[in-house]
Symmetry: C2
DNA sequence: GAGTGTGAATGTATTCACAGCA
DNA sequence: TGCTGTGAATACATTCACACTC
């Protein structure tokens, strides 16, 4: 079982699989064909994605759900808790903080940051909130590796720069602007309007 | 100037370019190299993306910002207003509705849907909200082509099915679950937790 | 000469076709 | 025999190298 690098896109799909698997009885088995139907993805692609994790499918029977969950979690590093720093405690930040799906996830918002003195040096929704300039000190102390930017577009790049200065390794940018980061930092732009903006093209050219 | 199909990934980048261009003086010119620096993307890729839209760069001078905006908007169909249907008027739906970036965009939430009788048959944040079962009638009447799912995970698939039944062509799914749609419908999953879930892998394998 | 624009080469992801196993 | 697992083939995306133009 030689360890092959997992295809970049496969990572995202594996996390989707994991979410879906959690909604299936752990005791069950599932074939790649059934799984494909449930997710609207081709069965070959699913088998290939699973094969990155090893061989544990059984011909004519399929895969054990519990085994899949375990292997995917392990491969993606989702078998532990990850501390997260949240920058921007306005509407968006509060929304993220209180999102039920986040609370159920392996990600735990350990600390928040804002520039507004009214929001700093106190707890918001049970999270300690500090001023931006305290970021390097606190993030290093807490050894946090993941940051979420939930600021206005104006503050997004500065927040990213500070996060990177603080030793953050991955940034989820929810603001409606592209931020620039050095190549050793993983950046994911997740603004929903960008995703909306590709729709008209597909509608007009389908 | 033969019309070549725009590369799939290029669509998303073009929308990013457009957002960025709106923050630059319309009167200015910009070279692919400057643009590349500002966005953290290679200059060749940018020129190639622009070339899908025609040839309007000037050697030694670069591209006119206003011309770029115009051409990209036109190519992506973002030179007009698009009506959108919003399903789910809970915290997430309200957040989407009141997002400043959405209000500034070409997308206009024309109508909302929910199952909760307390939320239906009235206006919420100046949008008329109806019960789910009225969806086909209203969406067809309003000729809406784009739907946003902002429901709980439980209601997501049913919402998608109803949207499709109503003749919707593109769905932005903000719920934390994959929904399945026929191939003639463009689906975009935009849940931020899925995007967070790929981070640990990149951190552990960098 | 400093930029654009693009065919060719490379790299990456997906699908095909089928060998192998329970 | 119905499923998994995977090398080979194909499709798609990015980068390279350079011709071209202002």
């Amino acid at each position: 079982m030689i360890k092959e690098a997992i295809s970049k896109n496969a990572i995202l799909r594996l996390s989707l699989y994991l979410t879906h698997l959690k909604r299936i009885d752990r005791e069950k088995r599932i074939t790649s064909d059934q799984f494909a139907d449930q997710l609207g993805i081709s069965d070959v692609r699913i088998r290939k994605d699973f094969s990155y994790l090893g061989r544990f499918g059984i011909p004519r029977k399929g895969y054990r759900v519990d085994k899949l969950q375990e292997q995917i979690s392990k491969a993606l590093g989702l078998d532990r808790v990850w501390s997260v720093a949240l920058v921007g405690m306005g509407t968006l930040g509060r929304f993220v903080l209180n999102s039920p799906a986040l609370k159920k996830s392996v990600f735990s918002v350990r600390v928040g940051f804002d520039v507004d003195p009214k929001k700093t040096s106190r707890k918001i929704d049970s999270v300690n909130v500090y001023h931006l300039y305290e970021m390097p000190r606190i993030i290093r102390k807490e050894k946090i590796k993941i940051g979420i930017i939930a600021t206005s577009t104006e503050a997004a790049q500065e927040s990213a720069d500070l996060l990177i200065l603080s030793g953050i390794k991955a940034i989820l940018n929810l603001s409606h602007i592209g931020v620039v980061v050095p190549s050793y930092v993983k950046l994911q732009n997740a603004n929903f309007i960008s995703q909306l903006e590709i729709m008209p093209y597909h509608i007009l050219n389908s």
